[in-house]
Point group: C2
Chain length 329, copies 2
Protein backbone atom coordinates (compact mmCIF):
# COMPACT_ATOMS: atom_id res chain seq x y z
CA UNK A 1 0.00 0.00 0.00
CA UNK A 2 1.09 3.57 -0.71
CA UNK A 3 -0.01 6.55 1.37
CA UNK A 4 0.61 10.29 1.22
CA UNK A 5 -0.56 13.52 2.88
CA UNK A 6 -1.90 16.31 0.70
CA UNK A 7 -1.34 19.94 1.63
CA UNK A 8 -4.75 21.23 2.69
CA UNK A 9 -3.98 24.18 4.93
CA UNK A 10 -3.99 22.09 8.11
CA UNK A 11 -0.96 21.16 10.18
CA UNK A 12 -1.22 17.42 9.47
CA UNK A 13 -2.42 17.40 5.87
CA UNK A 14 -5.06 15.16 4.25
CA UNK A 15 -4.36 11.44 4.17
CA UNK A 16 -4.70 9.91 0.69
CA UNK A 17 -4.16 6.44 -0.75
CA UNK A 18 -1.95 6.51 -3.85
CA UNK A 19 -1.94 3.96 -6.67
CA UNK A 20 1.06 1.67 -7.05
CA UNK A 21 2.19 3.51 -10.21
CA UNK A 22 1.84 6.90 -8.42
CA UNK A 23 -0.64 8.12 -11.06
CA UNK A 24 -3.93 8.26 -9.13
CA UNK A 25 -5.05 8.97 -5.57
CA UNK A 26 -8.17 9.04 -3.43
CA UNK A 27 -9.10 10.58 -0.07
CA UNK A 28 -10.19 8.23 2.73
CA UNK A 29 -11.77 10.64 5.22
CA UNK A 30 -14.26 8.00 6.29
CA UNK A 31 -11.34 5.80 7.41
CA UNK A 32 -8.84 8.38 8.68
CA UNK A 33 -8.22 12.07 7.98
CA UNK A 34 -4.51 12.10 8.72
CA UNK A 35 -1.68 9.58 8.63
CA UNK A 36 -1.07 10.01 12.38
CA UNK A 37 -4.74 9.13 12.98
CA UNK A 38 -4.32 6.01 10.84
CA UNK A 39 -1.15 4.99 12.71
CA UNK A 40 -2.84 5.62 16.08
CA UNK A 41 -5.34 2.90 15.12
CA UNK A 42 -3.28 0.93 12.61
CA UNK A 43 -4.52 -2.59 13.28
CA UNK A 44 -8.14 -1.49 12.86
CA UNK A 45 -7.56 0.92 10.00
CA UNK A 46 -5.12 -0.96 7.80
CA UNK A 47 -7.54 -3.55 6.36
CA UNK A 48 -9.90 -0.77 5.25
CA UNK A 49 -7.04 1.16 3.64
CA UNK A 50 -5.84 -2.03 1.92
CA UNK A 51 -9.28 -2.48 0.36
CA UNK A 52 -9.26 1.06 -1.02
CA UNK A 53 -5.71 0.55 -2.34
CA UNK A 54 -6.77 -2.61 -4.17
CA UNK A 55 -9.78 -0.86 -5.69
CA UNK A 56 -7.64 2.12 -6.70
CA UNK A 57 -5.14 -0.12 -8.48
CA UNK A 58 -8.01 -2.00 -10.12
CA UNK A 59 -9.40 1.31 -11.38
CA UNK A 60 -12.88 0.70 -9.97
CA UNK A 61 -13.18 3.82 -7.79
CA UNK A 62 -15.13 6.90 -8.86
CA UNK A 63 -13.68 9.86 -6.93
CA UNK A 64 -10.02 9.50 -7.81
CA UNK A 65 -7.75 12.32 -8.94
CA UNK A 66 -4.32 12.62 -10.50
CA UNK A 67 -1.49 12.29 -7.95
CA UNK A 68 0.88 15.28 -7.90
CA UNK A 69 4.04 14.91 -5.81
CA UNK A 70 4.49 18.66 -5.34
CA UNK A 71 1.03 18.89 -3.74
CA UNK A 72 2.24 16.70 -0.87
CA UNK A 73 3.45 17.33 2.63
CA UNK A 74 5.92 14.87 4.05
CA UNK A 75 3.74 11.82 4.86
CA UNK A 76 3.82 12.87 8.53
CA UNK A 77 4.07 16.68 8.28
CA UNK A 78 4.92 16.63 11.99
CA UNK A 79 5.66 13.57 14.10
CA UNK A 80 6.04 12.78 17.79
CA UNK A 81 9.40 11.06 17.40
CA UNK A 82 12.12 11.13 14.74
CA UNK A 83 15.34 9.33 15.63
CA UNK A 84 18.07 8.78 13.10
CA UNK A 85 20.63 6.00 13.30
CA UNK A 86 24.02 5.64 11.63
CA UNK A 87 23.55 2.11 10.39
CA UNK A 88 26.13 2.32 7.58
CA UNK A 89 29.12 2.16 9.89
CA UNK A 90 31.62 2.27 6.99
CA UNK A 91 30.46 5.90 6.52
CA UNK A 92 31.16 6.69 10.18
CA UNK A 93 34.56 4.98 9.90
CA UNK A 94 35.36 7.17 6.89
CA UNK A 95 34.34 10.35 8.75
CA UNK A 96 36.80 9.46 11.50
CA UNK A 97 39.53 8.47 9.06
CA UNK A 98 39.25 11.82 7.25
CA UNK A 99 40.07 13.59 10.51
CA UNK A 100 42.75 11.10 11.47
CA UNK A 101 40.79 9.54 14.35
CA UNK A 102 40.24 5.88 15.20
CA UNK A 103 36.63 4.71 15.39
CA UNK A 104 35.84 2.77 18.59
CA UNK A 105 35.39 -0.97 17.94
CA UNK A 106 32.04 -0.82 19.81
CA UNK A 107 30.52 1.17 16.91
CA UNK A 108 30.22 -2.16 15.04
CA UNK A 109 27.94 -3.61 17.73
CA UNK A 110 26.28 -0.62 19.48
CA UNK A 111 24.20 1.60 17.16
CA UNK A 112 24.70 5.36 17.03
CA UNK A 113 21.40 7.21 17.09
CA UNK A 114 20.33 10.81 17.60
CA UNK A 115 16.96 12.42 18.01
CA UNK A 116 15.98 14.95 15.36
CA UNK A 117 13.46 17.78 15.20
CA UNK A 118 10.09 16.30 14.25
CA UNK A 119 7.70 19.23 14.72
CA UNK A 120 8.17 20.97 11.36
CA UNK A 121 9.18 18.67 8.51
CA UNK A 122 9.58 20.24 5.08
CA UNK A 123 7.36 19.05 2.21
CA UNK A 124 9.32 16.93 -0.29
CA UNK A 125 9.13 19.45 -3.13
CA UNK A 126 9.44 22.62 -1.06
CA UNK A 127 12.64 24.65 -0.89
CA UNK A 128 15.11 24.48 1.99
CA UNK A 129 15.26 28.02 3.43
CA UNK A 130 18.59 28.80 5.12
CA UNK A 131 20.02 31.99 6.57
CA UNK A 132 23.62 31.35 5.49
CA UNK A 133 25.61 29.10 3.19
CA UNK A 134 28.47 29.55 5.69
CA UNK A 135 26.73 26.84 7.72
CA UNK A 136 27.85 24.19 5.18
CA UNK A 137 24.46 23.05 3.84
CA UNK A 138 24.40 19.36 2.95
CA UNK A 139 21.80 16.73 2.12
CA UNK A 140 21.78 13.18 3.52
CA UNK A 141 19.87 10.56 1.52
CA UNK A 142 18.47 7.89 3.82
CA UNK A 143 15.67 5.41 4.36
CA UNK A 144 13.32 5.50 7.36
CA UNK A 145 10.70 3.23 8.87
CA UNK A 146 7.50 4.19 10.71
CA UNK A 147 6.38 2.07 13.66
CA UNK A 148 3.19 1.50 15.58
CA UNK A 149 3.33 1.42 19.40
CA UNK A 150 6.52 -0.36 20.43
CA UNK A 151 6.75 -1.65 24.01
CA UNK A 152 9.76 -0.65 26.10
CA UNK A 153 12.48 -3.26 25.97
CA UNK A 154 11.21 -4.95 22.78
CA UNK A 155 13.45 -7.81 21.58
CA UNK A 156 15.12 -7.37 18.19
CA UNK A 157 13.36 -10.50 16.92
CA UNK A 158 9.98 -8.88 17.66
CA UNK A 159 10.85 -5.37 16.49
CA UNK A 160 10.31 -6.04 12.77
CA UNK A 161 6.61 -6.67 13.49
CA UNK A 162 6.30 -3.04 14.53
CA UNK A 163 7.60 -1.66 11.22
CA UNK A 164 4.62 -0.65 9.08
CA UNK A 165 5.78 1.97 6.60
CA UNK A 166 8.94 2.96 4.74
CA UNK A 167 9.93 6.39 3.42
CA UNK A 168 12.96 8.13 1.95
CA UNK A 169 14.55 11.00 3.91
CA UNK A 170 16.58 14.08 3.20
CA UNK A 171 18.23 14.67 6.58
CA UNK A 172 19.43 18.22 5.92
CA UNK A 173 22.68 18.85 7.80
CA UNK A 174 24.67 21.99 8.53
CA UNK A 175 28.23 20.65 8.41
CA UNK A 176 30.01 23.73 9.67
CA UNK A 177 27.82 23.86 12.80
CA UNK A 178 28.44 20.21 13.68
CA UNK A 179 31.99 20.35 15.11
CA UNK A 180 31.06 23.10 17.58
CA UNK A 181 27.89 21.35 18.68
CA UNK A 182 29.46 17.92 19.07
CA UNK A 183 32.34 19.46 21.05
CA UNK A 184 29.77 20.68 23.58
CA UNK A 185 28.92 17.03 24.22
CA UNK A 186 25.12 17.05 23.88
CA UNK A 187 24.89 16.02 20.21
CA UNK A 188 23.24 17.71 17.23
CA UNK A 189 20.64 20.43 17.53
CA UNK A 190 21.04 23.55 15.40
CA UNK A 191 23.16 21.51 12.97
CA UNK A 192 20.16 19.33 12.08
CA UNK A 193 17.38 21.60 10.78
CA UNK A 194 14.06 20.37 9.34
CA UNK A 195 14.23 17.12 7.37
CA UNK A 196 11.91 16.13 4.55
CA UNK A 197 10.50 12.78 3.48
CA UNK A 198 9.44 11.21 0.19
CA UNK A 199 5.96 12.16 -1.04
CA UNK A 200 4.81 8.56 -0.54
CA UNK A 201 5.14 6.16 2.39
CA UNK A 202 4.82 2.49 1.46
CA UNK A 203 4.14 -0.71 3.35
CA UNK A 204 7.16 -3.05 3.25
CA UNK A 205 5.29 -5.66 1.14
CA UNK A 206 5.42 -3.19 -1.77
CA UNK A 207 9.12 -4.04 -2.07
CA UNK A 208 8.51 -7.78 -2.48
CA UNK A 209 11.85 -9.60 -2.28
CA UNK A 210 13.66 -6.29 -1.91
CA UNK A 211 12.56 -6.07 1.75
CA UNK A 212 14.49 -8.77 3.59
CA UNK A 213 15.64 -9.12 7.18
CA UNK A 214 14.48 -5.58 7.91
CA UNK A 215 16.60 -4.10 5.12
CA UNK A 216 15.74 -2.45 1.79
CA UNK A 217 17.68 -4.18 -1.00
CA UNK A 218 17.63 -1.42 -3.63
CA UNK A 219 19.95 1.44 -4.62
CA UNK A 220 19.12 4.91 -3.29
CA UNK A 221 19.67 7.50 -6.02
CA UNK A 222 20.75 11.10 -5.43
CA UNK A 223 21.10 13.75 -8.13
CA UNK A 224 22.68 17.12 -7.30
CA UNK A 225 21.72 19.76 -9.88
CA UNK A 226 20.63 16.98 -12.26
CA UNK A 227 24.01 15.19 -12.15
CA UNK A 228 24.12 11.72 -10.61
CA UNK A 229 25.77 12.04 -7.20
CA UNK A 230 25.37 8.52 -5.85
CA UNK A 231 23.37 5.33 -6.00
CA UNK A 232 24.71 3.09 -3.22
CA UNK A 233 22.68 0.00 -2.42
CA UNK A 234 20.69 0.38 0.78
CA UNK A 235 20.88 -3.35 1.50
CA UNK A 236 24.68 -3.51 1.26
CA UNK A 237 26.99 -2.66 4.17
CA UNK A 238 24.05 -1.84 6.47
CA UNK A 239 25.58 -2.91 9.79
CA UNK A 240 22.35 -2.62 11.81
CA UNK A 241 19.01 -3.46 10.23
CA UNK A 242 15.85 -1.54 11.08
CA UNK A 243 14.70 -4.12 13.64
CA UNK A 244 17.96 -3.61 15.53
CA UNK A 245 17.58 0.18 15.35
CA UNK A 246 13.99 0.01 16.65
CA UNK A 247 15.01 -2.29 19.52
CA UNK A 248 17.89 0.06 20.38
CA UNK A 249 15.52 3.05 20.40
CA UNK A 250 13.04 1.27 22.69
CA UNK A 251 15.55 0.01 25.26
CA UNK A 252 14.57 2.40 28.08
CA UNK A 253 11.18 3.76 26.92
CA UNK A 254 8.24 2.78 24.73
CA UNK A 255 7.83 4.31 21.26
CA UNK A 256 4.54 5.91 20.28
CA UNK A 257 2.74 4.98 17.06
CA UNK A 258 4.12 7.13 14.26
CA UNK A 259 7.71 6.99 15.47
CA UNK A 260 10.15 7.43 12.56
CA UNK A 261 13.53 5.68 12.74
CA UNK A 262 16.12 6.54 10.09
CA UNK A 263 18.99 4.50 8.66
CA UNK A 264 21.57 7.27 8.50
CA UNK A 265 23.36 8.17 5.26
CA UNK A 266 23.31 5.18 2.92
CA UNK A 267 26.91 4.28 2.09
CA UNK A 268 28.78 1.38 0.45
CA UNK A 269 32.40 0.31 0.77
CA UNK A 270 32.34 0.17 -3.03
CA UNK A 271 32.91 3.89 -3.56
CA UNK A 272 32.16 3.59 -7.30
CA UNK A 273 28.48 3.75 -6.32
CA UNK A 274 28.97 7.37 -5.23
CA UNK A 275 27.78 8.98 -2.02
CA UNK A 276 24.51 9.97 -0.33
CA UNK A 277 25.85 13.23 1.07
CA UNK A 278 28.41 15.84 0.09
CA UNK A 279 30.36 15.40 3.33
CA UNK A 280 31.22 11.80 2.41
CA UNK A 281 32.45 12.85 -1.03
CA UNK A 282 34.59 15.56 0.57
CA UNK A 283 36.05 13.01 2.98
CA UNK A 284 36.95 10.69 0.12
CA UNK A 285 38.61 13.65 -1.59
CA UNK A 286 40.47 14.49 1.62
CA UNK A 287 41.72 10.92 2.02
CA UNK A 288 42.75 10.72 -1.67
CA UNK A 289 43.99 14.25 -2.37
CA UNK A 290 44.57 15.85 1.01
CA UNK A 291 41.71 18.30 0.73
CA UNK A 292 38.05 18.45 -0.28
CA UNK A 293 37.12 19.98 -3.63
CA UNK A 294 33.32 19.51 -3.85
CA UNK A 295 31.59 22.50 -2.20
CA UNK A 296 28.56 22.24 0.07
CA UNK A 297 25.21 23.44 -1.31
CA UNK A 298 24.73 27.01 -2.46
CA UNK A 299 21.51 28.97 -2.87
CA UNK A 300 19.86 27.65 -6.02
CA UNK A 301 21.32 24.15 -5.77
CA UNK A 302 18.79 21.31 -6.08
CA UNK A 303 18.96 17.84 -4.55
CA UNK A 304 16.78 15.00 -5.89
CA UNK A 305 16.50 11.72 -3.95
CA UNK A 306 14.56 8.68 -5.16
CA UNK A 307 14.48 4.90 -5.43
CA UNK A 308 13.48 2.84 -8.46
CA UNK A 309 12.18 -0.68 -8.86
CA UNK A 310 13.90 -3.13 -11.22
CA UNK A 311 11.79 -1.77 -14.11
CA UNK A 312 12.98 1.79 -13.43
CA UNK A 313 9.73 3.04 -11.88
CA UNK A 314 9.88 5.43 -8.93
CA UNK A 315 8.71 3.63 -5.76
CA UNK A 316 8.30 6.53 -3.28
CA UNK A 317 8.16 9.54 -5.60
CA UNK A 318 11.09 11.96 -5.35
CA UNK A 319 12.35 14.37 -2.73
CA UNK A 320 13.35 17.40 -4.82
CA UNK A 321 14.46 20.50 -2.95
CA UNK A 322 16.26 23.73 -3.80
CA UNK A 323 18.21 25.70 -1.21
CA UNK A 324 16.96 29.30 -0.94
CA UNK A 325 17.95 32.26 1.25
CA UNK A 326 15.93 32.96 4.41
CA UNK A 327 14.44 35.41 4.94
CA UNK A 328 13.74 36.05 1.27
CA UNK A 329 14.86 39.47 0.04
CA UNK B 1 -5.00 30.48 33.60
CA UNK B 2 -4.39 26.88 34.61
CA UNK B 3 -4.87 23.93 32.25
CA UNK B 4 -4.56 20.15 32.56
CA UNK B 5 -5.25 16.99 30.57
CA UNK B 6 -7.40 14.28 32.14
CA UNK B 7 -6.74 10.62 31.44
CA UNK B 8 -9.66 9.49 29.27
CA UNK B 9 -8.34 6.49 27.38
CA UNK B 10 -7.17 8.55 24.41
CA UNK B 11 -3.58 9.32 23.49
CA UNK B 12 -3.86 13.07 24.09
CA UNK B 13 -6.20 13.16 27.09
CA UNK B 14 -9.10 15.56 27.74
CA UNK B 15 -8.29 19.25 28.09
CA UNK B 16 -9.69 20.82 31.27
CA UNK B 17 -9.50 24.26 32.84
CA UNK B 18 -8.45 24.11 36.51
CA UNK B 19 -9.27 26.69 39.18
CA UNK B 20 -6.45 28.84 40.57
CA UNK B 21 -6.55 26.97 43.91
CA UNK B 22 -6.46 23.56 42.09
CA UNK B 23 -9.74 22.50 43.71
CA UNK B 24 -12.19 22.52 40.78
CA UNK B 25 -12.08 21.83 37.06
CA UNK B 26 -14.30 21.89 33.98
CA UNK B 27 -14.12 20.39 30.50
CA UNK B 28 -14.09 22.77 27.53
CA UNK B 29 -14.85 20.43 24.62
CA UNK B 30 -16.71 23.19 22.80
CA UNK B 31 -13.47 25.22 22.75
CA UNK B 32 -10.82 22.49 22.37
CA UNK B 33 -10.67 18.77 23.20
CA UNK B 34 -6.92 18.55 23.77
CA UNK B 35 -4.17 20.92 24.83
CA UNK B 36 -2.38 20.43 21.49
CA UNK B 37 -5.57 21.50 19.69
CA UNK B 38 -5.73 24.61 21.89
CA UNK B 39 -2.08 25.43 21.19
CA UNK B 40 -2.57 24.88 17.45
CA UNK B 41 -5.09 27.72 17.54
CA UNK B 42 -3.89 29.61 20.61
CA UNK B 43 -4.64 33.18 19.58
CA UNK B 44 -8.23 32.28 18.76
CA UNK B 45 -8.78 29.86 21.64
CA UNK B 46 -7.11 31.64 24.54
CA UNK B 47 -9.76 34.37 25.10
CA UNK B 48 -12.50 31.72 25.32
CA UNK B 49 -10.46 29.66 27.79
CA UNK B 50 -9.74 32.80 29.84
CA UNK B 51 -13.46 33.45 30.14
CA UNK B 52 -14.09 29.91 31.42
CA UNK B 53 -11.17 30.26 33.85
CA UNK B 54 -12.62 33.49 35.26
CA UNK B 55 -16.06 31.91 35.66
CA UNK B 56 -14.55 28.83 37.31
CA UNK B 57 -12.67 30.95 39.86
CA UNK B 58 -15.82 33.00 40.45
CA UNK B 59 -17.73 29.79 41.14
CA UNK B 60 -20.49 30.55 38.65
CA UNK B 61 -20.20 27.42 36.45
CA UNK B 62 -22.55 24.46 36.78
CA UNK B 63 -20.70 21.41 35.43
CA UNK B 64 -17.54 21.58 37.50
CA UNK B 65 -15.92 18.66 39.30
CA UNK B 66 -13.24 18.20 41.91
CA UNK B 67 -9.71 18.36 40.47
CA UNK B 68 -7.62 15.24 41.19
CA UNK B 69 -3.93 15.43 40.29
CA UNK B 70 -3.54 11.67 39.97
CA UNK B 71 -6.27 11.59 37.28
CA UNK B 72 -4.06 13.69 35.02
CA UNK B 73 -1.77 12.96 32.12
CA UNK B 74 1.16 15.28 31.64
CA UNK B 75 -0.47 18.43 30.16
CA UNK B 76 0.79 17.35 26.73
CA UNK B 77 0.75 13.52 27.00
CA UNK B 78 2.80 13.50 23.80
CA UNK B 79 4.36 16.50 22.08
CA UNK B 80 6.01 17.24 18.74
CA UNK B 81 9.11 18.79 20.27
CA UNK B 82 10.76 18.61 23.68
CA UNK B 83 14.18 20.22 23.94
CA UNK B 84 15.93 20.64 27.25
CA UNK B 85 18.55 23.27 27.93
CA UNK B 86 21.19 23.49 30.66
CA UNK B 87 20.52 27.05 31.70
CA UNK B 88 21.99 26.74 35.21
CA UNK B 89 25.58 26.73 34.05
CA UNK B 90 26.94 26.51 37.62
CA UNK B 91 25.52 22.96 37.63
CA UNK B 92 27.37 22.10 34.41
CA UNK B 93 30.56 23.63 35.85
CA UNK B 94 30.19 21.43 38.93
CA UNK B 95 29.69 18.30 36.81
CA UNK B 96 32.97 19.02 35.05
CA UNK B 97 34.76 19.90 38.30
CA UNK B 98 33.72 16.58 39.86
CA UNK B 99 35.47 14.74 37.04
CA UNK B 100 38.45 17.08 37.06
CA UNK B 101 37.66 18.71 33.71
CA UNK B 102 37.61 22.40 32.76
CA UNK B 103 34.36 23.75 31.37
CA UNK B 104 34.81 25.69 28.12
CA UNK B 105 34.35 29.45 28.60
CA UNK B 106 31.82 29.45 25.72
CA UNK B 107 29.31 27.59 27.92
CA UNK B 108 28.58 30.94 29.62
CA UNK B 109 27.41 32.47 26.32
CA UNK B 110 26.28 29.58 24.09
CA UNK B 111 23.43 27.47 25.54
CA UNK B 112 23.67 23.69 25.80
CA UNK B 113 20.49 22.00 24.61
CA UNK B 114 19.47 18.47 23.75
CA UNK B 115 16.35 17.03 22.19
CA UNK B 116 14.42 14.57 24.34
CA UNK B 117 11.84 11.88 23.61
CA UNK B 118 8.43 13.54 23.40
CA UNK B 119 6.20 10.74 22.13
CA UNK B 120 5.42 9.01 25.44
CA UNK B 121 5.52 11.29 28.50
CA UNK B 122 4.67 9.72 31.84
CA UNK B 123 1.67 11.05 33.82
CA UNK B 124 2.80 13.10 36.84
CA UNK B 125 1.53 10.61 39.44
CA UNK B 126 2.35 7.41 37.56
CA UNK B 127 5.31 5.22 38.47
CA UNK B 128 8.61 5.24 36.58
CA UNK B 129 9.06 1.68 35.24
CA UNK B 130 12.71 0.72 34.76
CA UNK B 131 14.37 -2.57 33.87
CA UNK B 132 17.41 -2.10 36.09
CA UNK B 133 18.65 0.07 38.94
CA UNK B 134 22.15 -0.55 37.55
CA UNK B 135 21.33 2.22 35.08
CA UNK B 136 21.66 4.83 37.85
CA UNK B 137 18.10 6.16 37.99
CA UNK B 138 17.93 9.86 38.83
CA UNK B 139 15.35 12.63 38.77
CA UNK B 140 15.97 16.16 37.49
CA UNK B 141 13.65 18.89 38.74
CA UNK B 142 13.23 21.60 36.13
CA UNK B 143 10.90 24.22 34.70
CA UNK B 144 9.70 24.21 31.10
CA UNK B 145 7.88 26.60 28.81
CA UNK B 146 5.44 25.80 25.99
CA UNK B 147 5.47 27.95 22.84
CA UNK B 148 3.14 28.68 19.97
CA UNK B 149 4.57 28.71 16.42
CA UNK B 150 8.01 30.31 16.54
CA UNK B 151 9.49 31.55 13.26
CA UNK B 152 12.97 30.38 12.30
CA UNK B 153 15.62 32.86 13.36
CA UNK B 154 13.44 34.62 15.95
CA UNK B 155 15.30 37.37 17.85
CA UNK B 156 15.71 36.89 21.61
CA UNK B 157 13.80 40.13 22.22
CA UNK B 158 10.78 38.67 20.38
CA UNK B 159 11.01 35.12 21.75
CA UNK B 160 9.29 35.86 25.08
CA UNK B 161 6.08 36.68 23.17
CA UNK B 162 5.96 33.04 22.05
CA UNK B 163 5.99 31.63 25.60
CA UNK B 164 2.42 30.80 26.60
CA UNK B 165 2.55 28.14 29.31
CA UNK B 166 4.84 27.01 32.11
CA UNK B 167 5.16 23.52 33.65
CA UNK B 168 7.42 21.66 36.05
CA UNK B 169 9.42 18.70 34.71
CA UNK B 170 10.94 15.52 36.02
CA UNK B 171 13.59 14.81 33.38
CA UNK B 172 14.31 11.21 34.38
CA UNK B 173 17.97 10.40 33.69
CA UNK B 174 19.93 7.16 33.65
CA UNK B 175 23.29 8.34 34.98
CA UNK B 176 25.23 5.14 34.36
CA UNK B 177 24.22 5.08 30.67
CA UNK B 178 25.28 8.70 30.10
CA UNK B 179 29.10 8.36 29.93
CA UNK B 180 28.92 5.63 27.28
CA UNK B 181 26.39 7.54 25.19
CA UNK B 182 28.18 10.87 25.37
CA UNK B 183 31.47 9.17 24.47
CA UNK B 184 29.85 8.07 21.21
CA UNK B 185 29.46 11.75 20.35
CA UNK B 186 25.77 11.92 19.39
CA UNK B 187 24.38 12.98 22.79
CA UNK B 188 21.73 11.42 25.02
CA UNK B 189 19.23 8.84 23.83
CA UNK B 190 18.75 5.71 25.95
CA UNK B 191 20.03 7.66 28.96
CA UNK B 192 17.01 10.00 28.81
CA UNK B 193 13.84 7.89 29.07
CA UNK B 194 10.30 9.31 29.33
CA UNK B 195 9.97 12.57 31.27
CA UNK B 196 6.89 13.69 33.17
CA UNK B 197 5.38 17.13 33.73
CA UNK B 198 3.36 18.79 36.51
CA UNK B 199 -0.39 18.03 36.46
CA UNK B 200 -1.10 21.67 35.64
CA UNK B 201 0.31 24.04 33.02
CA UNK B 202 -0.10 27.73 33.81
CA UNK B 203 0.04 30.94 31.84
CA UNK B 204 2.97 33.12 32.97
CA UNK B 205 0.65 35.85 34.34
CA UNK B 206 -0.35 33.41 37.11
CA UNK B 207 3.08 34.06 38.65
CA UNK B 208 2.56 37.82 38.85
CA UNK B 209 5.85 39.46 39.81
CA UNK B 210 7.52 36.07 40.04
CA UNK B 211 7.72 35.87 36.21
CA UNK B 212 10.28 38.44 35.17
CA UNK B 213 12.59 38.72 32.18
CA UNK B 214 11.56 35.22 31.05
CA UNK B 215 12.54 33.64 34.38
CA UNK B 216 10.52 32.08 37.22
CA UNK B 217 11.50 33.74 40.52
CA UNK B 218 10.41 31.03 42.96
CA UNK B 219 12.12 28.05 44.64
CA UNK B 220 11.61 24.62 43.08
CA UNK B 221 11.08 22.03 45.82
CA UNK B 222 12.11 18.37 45.58
CA UNK B 223 11.38 15.73 48.23
CA UNK B 224 12.97 12.28 47.95
CA UNK B 225 11.08 9.73 50.06
CA UNK B 226 9.41 12.58 51.93
CA UNK B 227 12.70 14.18 52.98
CA UNK B 228 13.49 17.64 51.59
CA UNK B 229 16.18 17.19 48.94
CA UNK B 230 16.44 20.71 47.57
CA UNK B 231 14.68 24.00 47.06
CA UNK B 232 16.98 26.14 44.91
CA UNK B 233 15.51 29.33 43.51
CA UNK B 234 14.69 29.02 39.81
CA UNK B 235 15.30 32.72 39.23
CA UNK B 236 18.80 32.70 40.74
CA UNK B 237 21.91 31.71 38.76
CA UNK B 238 19.87 31.02 35.60
CA UNK B 239 22.48 31.97 33.00
CA UNK B 240 20.11 31.82 30.00
CA UNK B 241 16.48 32.86 30.36
CA UNK B 242 13.69 31.08 28.49
CA UNK B 243 13.60 33.69 25.71
CA UNK B 244 17.28 33.00 25.03
CA UNK B 245 16.67 29.24 25.03
CA UNK B 246 13.73 29.58 22.60
CA UNK B 247 15.78 31.79 20.26
CA UNK B 248 18.66 29.29 20.40
CA UNK B 249 16.27 26.42 19.57
CA UNK B 250 14.81 28.31 16.59
CA UNK B 251 18.10 29.43 15.04
CA UNK B 252 18.00 27.07 12.03
CA UNK B 253 14.36 25.89 11.94
CA UNK B 254 10.91 27.04 13.04
CA UNK B 255 9.28 25.57 16.17
CA UNK B 256 5.77 24.14 15.95
CA UNK B 257 3.04 25.21 18.40
CA UNK B 258 3.28 23.00 21.49
CA UNK B 259 7.09 22.95 21.55
CA UNK B 260 8.38 22.41 25.11
CA UNK B 261 11.71 23.98 26.09
CA UNK B 262 13.20 23.00 29.46
CA UNK B 263 15.53 24.91 31.77
CA UNK B 264 17.75 22.02 32.77
CA UNK B 265 18.31 21.06 36.42
CA UNK B 266 17.63 24.07 38.63
CA UNK B 267 20.78 24.79 40.63
CA UNK B 268 22.13 27.61 42.83
CA UNK B 269 25.69 28.50 43.76
CA UNK B 270 24.38 28.68 47.32
CA UNK B 271 24.54 24.95 47.99
CA UNK B 272 22.60 25.30 51.25
CA UNK B 273 19.45 25.31 49.10
CA UNK B 274 20.10 21.67 48.20
CA UNK B 275 19.97 20.11 44.75
CA UNK B 276 17.42 19.27 42.06
CA UNK B 277 18.97 15.92 41.15
CA UNK B 278 20.92 13.20 42.92
CA UNK B 279 23.87 13.52 40.53
CA UNK B 280 24.56 17.06 41.71
CA UNK B 281 24.50 15.99 45.35
CA UNK B 282 26.91 13.15 44.54
CA UNK B 283 29.24 15.60 42.79
CA UNK B 284 29.23 17.90 45.80
CA UNK B 285 30.07 14.88 47.96
CA UNK B 286 32.85 13.92 45.55
CA UNK B 287 34.34 17.42 45.63
CA UNK B 288 34.07 17.58 49.45
CA UNK B 289 34.83 14.01 50.51
CA UNK B 290 36.44 12.36 47.50
CA UNK B 291 33.52 10.04 46.78
CA UNK B 292 29.73 10.10 46.50
CA UNK B 293 27.64 8.66 49.34
CA UNK B 294 24.04 9.31 48.24
CA UNK B 295 22.80 6.41 46.10
CA UNK B 296 20.73 6.80 42.94
CA UNK B 297 17.04 5.77 43.10
CA UNK B 298 16.02 2.24 44.00
CA UNK B 299 12.77 0.47 43.29
CA UNK B 300 10.20 1.90 45.70
CA UNK B 301 11.85 5.32 45.98
CA UNK B 302 9.52 8.27 45.45
CA UNK B 303 10.37 11.71 44.11
CA UNK B 304 8.01 14.68 44.64
CA UNK B 305 8.57 17.95 42.76
CA UNK B 306 6.50 21.09 43.26
CA UNK B 307 6.52 24.87 43.53
CA UNK B 308 4.69 27.02 46.07
CA UNK B 309 3.52 30.60 46.04
CA UNK B 310 4.47 32.99 48.86
CA UNK B 311 1.44 31.76 50.85
CA UNK B 312 2.61 28.14 50.58
CA UNK B 313 -0.01 27.03 48.04
CA UNK B 314 1.01 24.62 45.27
CA UNK B 315 1.06 26.45 41.92
CA UNK B 316 1.36 23.56 39.41
CA UNK B 317 0.30 20.57 41.51
CA UNK B 318 3.00 18.00 42.24
CA UNK B 319 4.94 15.52 40.19
CA UNK B 320 5.03 12.45 42.46
CA UNK B 321 6.53 9.28 41.05
CA UNK B 322 7.79 5.99 42.42
CA UNK B 323 10.39 3.88 40.62
CA UNK B 324 9.12 0.35 39.92
CA UNK B 325 10.63 -2.67 38.15
CA UNK B 326 9.74 -3.31 34.48
CA UNK B 327 8.41 -5.69 33.50
CA UNK B 328 6.48 -6.27 36.69
CA UNK B 329 6.97 -9.70 38.23
Amino acid sequence: MKLASLKNGTRDGQLIVVSRDLSQAVTVTEIASTLQQALDNWRIVRPALDTVYQQLNDNVLADTFGFVESACESPLPRAFHWADGSAYVNHVELVRKARGAEMPESFWSDPLIYQGGSDCFLPPHDPIPMASTDWGIDFEAEIAVVTDDVPMGVATKDADNHIHLLMLVNDVSLRNLIPGELAKGFGFYQSKPSSSFSPVAITPDELGDHWQKSKVLRPLTSHLNNALFGEPDAGTDMTFNFAELVAHAAKTRPLCAGTIIGSGTVSNYDRSAGSSCIAEKRMLETVAEGKPTTPFMNFGDTIRIEMFDTAGRSIFGAIEQTVIPFPQE
